[in-house]
């Protein structure tokens, strides 16, 4: 297959911007970042089937041929089906994540992803010296 430079660059951009947003504290931003990443991934999966073609409908006159190189044929239906599944799944999960953000707002008043308290404790605490007694020391 030949590569489509526009789409490849667009995917790179979506992944890049998505990544940038993902590395933030606010859950809304993280969700937007994940959304961009998901768009990029869907585009990638679709593009993995090759260049565009005629929509994959088969009439009674017979089937078309899936395009594998540049030229007019039928677009590969498998990636389309997979992307459709991926879109729906990521929609469901994103909705759940938003519910989580809502719940977070109920509890804390915002949707910031806070650092783990226990981890912070471990990192902060000084190691306590092992209790060491020498029964002969006071002899």
């Amino acid at each position: 297959m030949t590569g489509n430079l526009t789409l490849a660059l667009l995917m790179g951009l979506l992944y890049g911007v998505g990544t940038y947003l993902l590395l933030q504290r606010t859950l809304t931003r993280v969700v937007v970042g994940l959304g961009l990443l998901a768009h990029g991934a869907n585009l990638l999966l679709l593009q993995a089937g090759g260049p565009p073609g005629v929509a994959p409908f088969v009439g009674p006159e017979g089937a078309g041929v899936v395009v594998t190189s540049f030229g007019e044929g039928t677009a590969d239906p498998l990636p389309q089906a997979m992307v459709l599944t991926a879109i729906v799944i990521s929609f469901g999960v994103t909705a759940f994540l938003l519910a989580l953000a809502f719940r977070s707002w109920v509890l804390t008043g915002d949707d910031e992803v806070r650092d783990d308290v226990e981890d912070a404790r471990v990192a902060r605490e000084r190691p306590q010296e092992q209790a060491h007694t020498d029964p002969e020391a006071e002899l």
Partner: protein, 161 residues
């Protein structure tokens, strides 16, 4: 009866729960007119999906959108009026229907999810051909619809309180 202000315009049942100032007569009327059309269209998408764009997902989403419109136009009361069942019902039913369709293939001696074609000679409709993909897609339709209804009820209506 409901204390509807004039009763002239056909309004959405249950809409009276929201502040009268914020109610939009035009929107409610439009939604009332459009609502059933959209539902019918969603069913069309479901049935036609096997041969033209559409299918269970799209159908379910479109049907869901009909309820979204209703909620947006007239609030949670209207939603409650429009959906008498618990969203869990379509969710559960859809899942059971889709899985059971798959298992039917197994029971019929084929593979799990193997589709079968049924030709029924019905009294009025004549011979109706259907593949088992239809009940499966109906399951999909129901689950998607259940999801949207659930979202409207929880994140929509419930979160309002």
């Amino acid at each position: 009866m409901r204390p509807v202000d004039s009763g002239a315009a056909p309004r959405l049942p249950g809409a009276d729960e929201i502040d009268p100032v914020r109610r939009s007569v035009v929107l409610e009327t439009v939604v009332r007119l459009v609502f059933h059309t959209v539902l019918v269209f969603s069913l069309y998408l479901l049935f036609a999906g096997h041969n033209s764009p559409g299918g269970g997902f799209v159908g379910g989403l479109v049907a869901g959108c009909a309820f979204v419109l209703r909620y947006v136009a007239a609030g949670r009361g209207a939603l409650r009026e429009a959906v008498p069942v618990d969203p869990g019902v379509p969710l559960g039913l859809g899942l059971v229907l889709a899985t059971a369709t798959g298992l039917a293939g197994l029971v019929a001696g084929g593979q799990f999810l193997e589709s079968g074609k049924v030709s029924l000679d019905l009294p009025v409709l004549g011979v109706v051909k259907a593949t088992s993909a239809l009940p499966f897609d109906t399951g999909v339709f129901l689950v998607v619809l259940g999801l949207v209804l659930g979202l409207l009820r929880s994140l929509g209506a419930e979160a309002e309180r």
